[in-house]
Assembly symmetry: C2
Homo-oligomer: 383 residues x 2
């Protein structure tokens, strides 16, 4: 199907629903975070899971990111095809068919992958042997999220030994120490405390690995919510933020860190008003255009708010609707502007990653003009 817009189009002519990216905000976010990291001597490995869009990843690399990370072999293949040369799969890969693809991919980019089980290391070593490939490995450490990752030193040492037994095909690069559960702790103090504990655990495991004769050059982790703490830790060498470039309501709800730059809302979902009723209006994008897992979107329209989201619709209503004595009729409330059928209307997503994944194209614009239209990787990149 055709893209929703072409370069040069006016934003209010873009076909809807469409994923839109404000390039002025995006560029400012990228410059601010990359500058913050550079000043503290940590590398930025931008997380491609946030957007799955090679066009965006290439800009992040051009702006100083050392490369990207991603969660899936399919994503890594897609980013590699687009010219990204340094990719970390910041996640476990355990299936033999996927490991074969991973080993083949290692022939054309600098590739690393995470492990949290000796059996997974052995399967990876077998795949590398079969394809004459060399892959870097990060041992994932559970620094508080209670998802993947080893619990501490003992398990990490067992995996490091298994990596060493794998011969030259595998090289231990270091530790993956991402604390997903800390990203949306609302208070800076809470986030700081969580990352202080994560840093202490990572430092302890790194020291034990080195004492046992293993290399451990890299400690990678950190996201948009916590990166100032990883960057200042003296332990982390690399941070993995993704949402910073796009932003969403869930990250905007965090209380700001004093030392970190504020990020601007760059991502949006452009919709059109498709029905205007008494007391509400309906936009032409719903659950298939904006993810609600972290709460509903907000409508970028003064005087209006989101009432509900269904598969293909978002219902909005005037804020005046809950003031007793007002009719709540669209356009009739004090200060509420009238809406026209077909009028464009932007939704700010609650959560950027699964929202971007609902679209085939990113419509990148400046001011009121479309500058670029970039494909998003196919849904099959989840595999």
């Amino acid at each position: 199907m055709a893209p929703p817009a072409a370069p040069g189009d006016r934003l209010d002519r873009v076909d809807t629903p469409a994923l839109i990216l404000d390039l002025d905000a995006f560029d400012a976010n990228v410059a601010a975070l990359h500058g913050h990291a550079a000043a503290r001597g940590v590398r930025v490995r931008a997380h491609g899971k946030a957007h799955r869009c090679p066009g965006i990843a290439l800009r992040q690399v051009a702006a100083g990111a050392i490369g990207i990370c991603c969660q899936k072999v399919g994503e890594a293949e897609g980013f590699a095809d687009a010219g990204i040369a340094d990719i970390l799969i910041s996640n476990e890969v355990v299936d033999d068919a996927k490991l074969a693809r991973l080993a083949r991919l290692a022939g054309r980019v600098r590739l690393a992958v995470c492990v949290d089980h000796p059996d997974a290391v052995r399967a990876l070593a077998r795949a590398c042997a079969r394809h004459d490939a060399r892959v870097d490995v990060l041992i994932e450490l559970d620094v508080g999220q209670a998802r993947c990752g080893v619990a501490g030193t003992e398990e990490a040492l067992a995996i490091a030994r298994t990596i060493a037994e794998g011969g030259p095909a595998l090289r231990l690069r270091g530790l993956q120490a991402y604390h997903g559960g800390a990203q949306h702790l609302r208070s800076p103090a809470g986030r700081g405390a969580a990352i202080a504990a994560a840093s202490a655990l990572a430092a302890q495991v790194r020291a034990a690995l080195r004492a046992a004769g293993h290399d451990c050059d890299e400690v990678s982790g950190g996201g948009t919510g916590t990166y100032p703490y990883e960057a200042a830790s003296g332990v982390y060498t690399e941070i993995q933020p993704g949402s910073y470039a796009l932003m969403d309501l869930d990250y905007r709800a965090n209380e700001a860190d004093a030392a970190a730059p504020a990020m601007r809302q760059a991502l949006g979902v452009l919709t059109s008003v498709m029905s205007v009723r008494d007391g509400h209006a309906v936009l032409d994008g719903g659950l298939k255009a904006v993810s609600v897992d972290s709460g509903p979107p907000a409508v970028r329209l003064p005087g209006w708010r989101v009432r509900g989201v269904s598969d293909e619709h978002t219902v909005i209503e005037p804020l005046a609707a809950d003031r007793p004595g007002t009719s709540g009729s669209p356009g009739s409330g004090a200060g509420t502007p009238a809406l026209a059928l077909g009028q464009r209307c932007v939704l700010d997503p609650g959560h950027c990653d699964p929202t971007a994944n609902l679209h085939d194209w990113v419509v990148a614009y400046r001011g009121e003009r479309v500058e670029s239209v970039w494909p998003v990787l196919p849904r099959g990149a989840s595999r």
Copy 2:
């Protein structure tokens, strides 16, 4: 990217995460509902929004559906390309560029679309005139959902007059009277009462239209939650169920209707165990493989339940985890089976429509063998 499976593959070799369809359950659901409708003299117009998969739609038509409905011009184009000959866009289309596509599409299939505003009728008439097209129109009536649709007789008559003024390009086929808000009322009595009210309103508006000299042959509506009531109403001529063929947890949570056949869970999301930890395990599909807008998925694995879903992961834990005095370690609980890395594991989605939309392919299987692999329409079908 390559499909996750090929016909003949064993189900436990399918690449994950993948959308899977149990064809025995699907066939049983389709036969049961189509038989129920046929016995009551109403036509089935299967809702393609549930799956966006032409391979499924063609089977529904082969099993007696008069055609399909869908919500978007992009969906209609995709279904038409696949050979579906009778399509209702059960939704409003107001944008001129979309109306031009709609008018072109009317040249190759029997097409209808909904309206709820005279301005939208005039825009449609202009598009039809420009493309020498004829399109059937259903006036959408708000029968209780408070989303799109006119409120009652007066507005419906105004739209009918506008349709008549549009000349031969537009033909009033009848009323769209879908009550989305009633589909998940848990009690049959609640659903029955909601559809009784909807039927009464539709009958009243139809009578008023006919009294004013307008045609109103069709009253279309009804979904998987309420179709027995529309089918028995004597007012509705056509029902629009979609989820019935696939099923999800939200529909399974409805209390059963005595007069209606039970539907089986046909849709699933196949995942693999990617990490086994102390007290939990991690599956390789998350928010980008299964939608959580209607609640989290359930894991089809005795003794286990879903703890949480993030972008690319679903964390599961033994049910025993909340029994005091048990360790909760995977495989260690009484009766809890051990999990192996790479083991396949099925998630039942909370909501089928936005879940299907997350996948490029439907892997259709019988027993333990893949029978067919069908593409899902591109994400751009949302436009």
